[in-house]
């Protein structure tokens, strides 16, 4: 038996060595380094970096453009938050069997599969002021008066990009909810129906508790996703005009790789982690305190 234990230990050490080293080297060390870097003035190439205390943190809070970017993130966050009930309703519909439901389940997930850079350019074309399809649709509908410079008007550009984000991720959420609904035991649903439960009661007392875990995940994914909104503005507008469609992550990335201020960028990255955790805790308290309290 002793030799088996030895063999087992040898196997574990041998097999886990490389994956663990990689994980430490490329995930843990950068995470710690990010924190350390946030107290320095490193510029990205100098061999040395100076410790400057919490100066980056003070500068971060004073940065108006960063706050504007964070406000833009909030638009993504609330847009997706408002969509969650719609996505849930859609998932409940797709969970029933009707003509073509398999095809519709397939199509609703399509935007999530599509190359993000390609679709960003496609939407740039869609909203373009010259020969753009969206303006043409409005014209056909007799709504010429609504036409705007969708991607260069500072007042609306961020909403347009948030819409593109909705286009890309709503179907993903619908698919997650549909999968969770399918895991609700059939006999439980039938028993409830036999007892005379109506659609709302079915939803509230059978389906919601069963998919609570998935709702939790989608809410968390929404915080993470909204704060990390990056590729759509990066490709479509570069955050412009000015900072009108900049986001927290885009601003952070530019601070490091465009303006060579890695110290300040690391500070923002650390702040990002804290914001994600704080919003998640608040959201959890709200959800479990208000909506799901009866289950406890």
């Amino acid at each position: 038996m002793n030799s088996l234990v030895k063999k087992q230990r040898k196997f574990i050490v041998f097999a886990m060595l490389i994956p663990t080293i990689l994980l430490i080297g490329f995930v843990l060390v950068p995470a710690v380094d990010l924190f350390r870097m946030s107290f320095t003035d490193w510029d990205g190439w100098s061999p040395t970096r100076n410790f400057i205390g919490i100066k980056n943190y003070l500068n971060m809070f004073k940065n108006k453009d960063l706050w504007l970017s964070l406000r833009n993130n909030a638009v993504y966050f609330f847009a997706h938050l408002i969509m969650i009930p719609v996505e849930l309703a859609f998932a409940i519909m797709l969970n029933t069997k009707f003509r073509g439901y398999k095809f519709y389940r397939f199509m609703v997930f399509m935007p999530f599969i599509i190359n993000g850079v390609a679709i960003s350019y496609a939407f740039s074309y869609f909203f373009s002021p010259i020969n753009g399809a969206f303006d043409e649709i409005l014209t056909v509908l007799g709504l010429e008066g609504w036409i705007r410079n969708w991607l260069s008007d500072t007042k609306i550009v961020n909403f347009v990009l948030a819409f593109v984000s909705l286009w890309r991720y709503s179907g993903y959420h619908v698919t997650l909810f549909t999968a969770a609904l399918q895991s609700v035991p059939q006999d439980m649903q039938e028993a409830a129906r036999m007892d005379g439960a109506n659609s709302w009661q079915m939803f509230r007392y059978i389906q919601v508790p069963s998919i609570a875990l998935m709702v939790d995940f989608v809410l968390f994914d929404n915080i993470r996703g909204a704060l990390q909104a990056f590729d759509v503005p990066f490709v479509m507008t570069q955050g412009g005009p000015g900072y009108a469609s900049s986001t927290f992550t885009l601003f952070t990335i530019n601070t490091a790789f465009k303006f060579s201020n890695f110290g300040l960028a690391a500070t923002m990255a650390v702040a990002l982690v804290f914001i994600i955790i704080i919003v998640h805790v608040i959201q959890n308290k709200l959800i479990h305190g208000l909506i799901l309290k009866e289950e406890k």
Binding site: P19, G116, A118, Y121, W167, L227
Partner: protein
């Protein structure tokens, strides 16, 4: 009567959804089939008459030598990353699910941290490490990052391993098999369905990834399919019909993968999410 009405309403909602999903894609395809002149003379919502459709825009993008380079680079990155993802993913999941050992809790916690760290901004610190290893402007940069830091496969594999009966490998061990043989000949083959899911989902995310190749591989000869499109877009500034053909070409690989393997993708996405 009420049933028929619900059916009709469902169909209307779903057709509306499909129109929203397809609009940007189909309208881009329309533009890709037009000449420069037709972009102005025909409505963006319509195709020109069938006899006037042009394939010149597609010929142009398909004839671009960097598209082939991009395809090759994406292929290399994909194959190498996936081999190691599957190898490390299966063996790590097996060990974490089956064995008790010192440091196990630490390692599991490490993987949890790995899932928590925000993706894009981590590159600010990872950049230094990748550079100091001399991987900047090599295919090694994206490969090692995809292998080391992209961890979703672990959750899919752990679910699968925990569903396998331990009596399988125990009896083999009593028969004198080594742990390596048990893993290679019994466990690994049993994980094939999970491996299929992992390979398909990871392929899509690697093909579509823009940021890692953009950041670490600015050299022309290191373009991937996605960064090829970014360069192509800059070169075609203002000529929507030629860019449109590029957009469609770059969209195609992942759409095809999705059409062929939809079953694995839809089940795997949900499995990865709940645990994640």
């Amino acid at each position: 009567m009420k049933k028929v009405l619900t059916q009709i309403i469902k169909q209307i909602i779903c057709v509306g959804m499909i129109m929203i999903v397809l609009a940007p894609i189909v309208l881009t395809l329309f533009a890709a089939l037009k000449t420069k002149g037709q972009m102005v003379t025909t409505s963006p919502l319509l195709l020109p008459s069938l006899s006037e459709i042009t394939f010149d825009n597609f010929k142009k993008v398909l004839g671009d030598k960097y598209l082939l380079i991009g395809l090759k680079n994406t292929g290399i990155i994909l194959v190498v990353s996936l081999i190691f993802n599957v190898l490390f993913g299966t063996i790590t999941a097996y060990i974490i699910e089956r064995f008790e050992f010192r440091l196990k809790k630490v390692i599991v916690a490490l993987y949890f941290v790995g899932m928590l760290v925000p993706t894009f901004v981590t590159e600010i610190a990872r950049y230094r490490i990748v550079n100091s290893l001399g991987l900047y402007n090599t295919l090694g940069a994206p490969i090692i990052i995809y292998i080391a830091a992209d961890l979703m496969q672990l959750y899919i594999y752990r679910q699968f391993v925990s569903a396998l009966s331990p009596s399988l490998d125990e009896s083999a061990l009593i028969d004198g098999c080594s742990y390596f043989r048990v893993f290679a000949q019994i466990i690994f083959p049993l994980l094939a369905p999970a491996t299929a899911t992992v390979i398909i989902i990871k392929s899509i995310s690697i093909i579509n990834d823009m940021y890692i190749p953009y950041l670490y591989m600015p050299a022309n000869r290191l373009r991937t399919l996605t960064t090829f499109l970014m360069n192509y877009a800059n070169a075609q500034q203002g000529s929507w019909q030629t860019l449109a053909a590029g957009i469609i070409v770059i969209m195609l690989p992942t759409i095809l993968i999705y059409i062929v393997f939809q079953k694995y993708i839809l089940s795997g996405i949900a499995a990865g999410a709940v645990k994640g």
